[in-house]
């Protein structure tokens, strides 16, 4: 369990911009952070591989998709907690 060397606010901003650029009716504001991205169809299945690539690029480490669950990518909050928060499992 290592503390991330990435800045979570920057990560959040990058995720918001990326999601807003692909979704209809989604603004890159902090209000997006708690939105259930796939359940609420902000993103679709076609976006998932790209999202994982983005997470990998931001954390500079591969994501093991064999253990990935829906909860890990449910929202920006969930992504940050899973991959980027201090103490997150890396």
């Amino acid at each position: 369990m290592l503390r991330t060397d990435h800045d979570a606010p920057e990560v959040r901003a990058t995720l918001r911009d990326w999601i807003a650029s692909r979704a209809q009716d989604a603004d890159a504001t902090p209000a997006l952070d708690g939105v259930r991205l796939f359940e609420q169809r902000v993103l679709t299945s076609l976006h998932l591989p790209e999202l994982i690539l983005l997470i990998e690029r931001l954390r500079r480490e591969p994501v093991d998709v064999t253990t990935l669950t829906a909860a890990d990518v449910a929202s920006i909050d969930a992504i940050v907690a899973r991959w980027f928060a201090p103490g997150a499992d890396r």
């Binding site: 169809r41 679709t44 076609l46 994982i52």
Partner: protein, 305 residues
């Protein structure tokens, strides 16, 4: 559970109505056909719990409809196309004159007419284009059965066939309605299997995508566990519960109270239920359980407080 070899099992079931064809298909008659019909009536009884509207659709489905939902991209290896000869007189004469079938049974085709249709790969694929552009209100429940066709690398009687019967129950509506339907459908299916004494495990599954590593649908299915199967005997899926999200609703502009409809289905492979029942209870009809009574029991249990 019997431990008969596949060949012995097929021979024994021959006495109660099974004929296995080298093409990977079965013919059914007598007790086994009656059992298949009883299974379908049991599934219809479950469908009645939602007052699902039954629909009958043809054997062929337009390739363009399947292409709109990515079927030909995701499953080209499973596709069976409906082909016909070009109707030109000279072409037909050339076909007839050329000994149409060779000694190996292979057809010596001459020029083909444009191919526009496939043999149905899954029963529910017909429902979405059928309801294209419709506003369904809060929720709509449908059911349909069809003979489905899949090209596989190998076939086994009642387990994996080139053509087989599939009954599906489908819910179209708001996502929460669909999720609730799938949850209840899984419970009812599980109760039916228990009432029949068929032990299964529910497992997260995925469809057999072509080049799965390259297919985002495959990854999404894995991560979001959108497909669950009731697995009998460790390796035979007799039912699957599938959340499609808005994949079909978006492709065919189907809406539910103004928003793109989500959908989900529960699918039953009828021949596989015959396999499970005859594997569990043997080839003698007198020992088979009453499938329709088991469906009533499952529904009664589900209705009990």
């Amino acid at each position: 559970m019997t431990a008969a070899s596949p060949a012995t099992r097929t021979d024994r079931l021959g006495e109660v109505g099974l004929t296995w064809h080298d093409s990977g298909q079965v013919s059914l008659r007598g007790p086994l056909l009656a059992l298949l019909r009883d299974c379908d009536r049991a599934f219809l009884a479950l469908a009645a719990a939602w007052r699902a509207v039954d629909e009958v659709h043809p054997a062929l489905i337009p390739a363009a409809a399947l292409d709109r939902v990515g079927y030909l991209d995701s499953f080209p290896h499973l596709a069976n196309f409906a082909v016909a000869l070009d109707a030109g007189d000279a072409n037909l004469e050339a076909f007839r004159a050329g000994e149409p079938v060779d000694p190996d049974g292979q057809v010596r085709l001459t020029r083909l007419a444009p191919v526009r249709e496939l043999l149905t790969p899954a029963a529910c694929y017909h429902l979405y284009p059928q309801h294209e552009g419709e506003e369904l209100g809060p929720v709509r429940y449908l059911t349909t059965r069809n003979t489905c066709f899949r090209r596989e690398t190998h076939y086994q009687p009642l387990r994996r066939q080139r053509s087989f019967q599939m009954r599906e129950l489908v819910c179209l509506g708001a996502r929460e309605q669909v999720v609730a339907f799938l949850d209840r459908a899984r419970t009812l299916t599980d109760r039916l299997l228990r009432a029949l004494g068929l032990p299964v495990t529910w497992e997260i599954a995925h469809d057999p995508f072509f080049r799965p590593a390259e297919n985002p649908q495959r990854l999404f299915q894995q991560v979001h566990a959108t497909k669950q199967e009731a697995v009998y005997g460790g390796d035979l899926a007799v039912a699957s519960v599938n959340l499609h999200e808005d994949h079909f609703g978006a492709a065919f502009s189907i809406t539910s109270t103004g928003a793109t409809a989500s959908s989900g289905c529960v699918a039953f492979g009828l021949e596989r239920w015959l396999f499970a029942l005859t594997d569990r209870y043997g080839p003698h009809p007198a020992t088979w359980p009453d499938v329709r009574a088991a469906a009533r029991q499952a529904l009664d249990e589900a209705a009990a407080p």
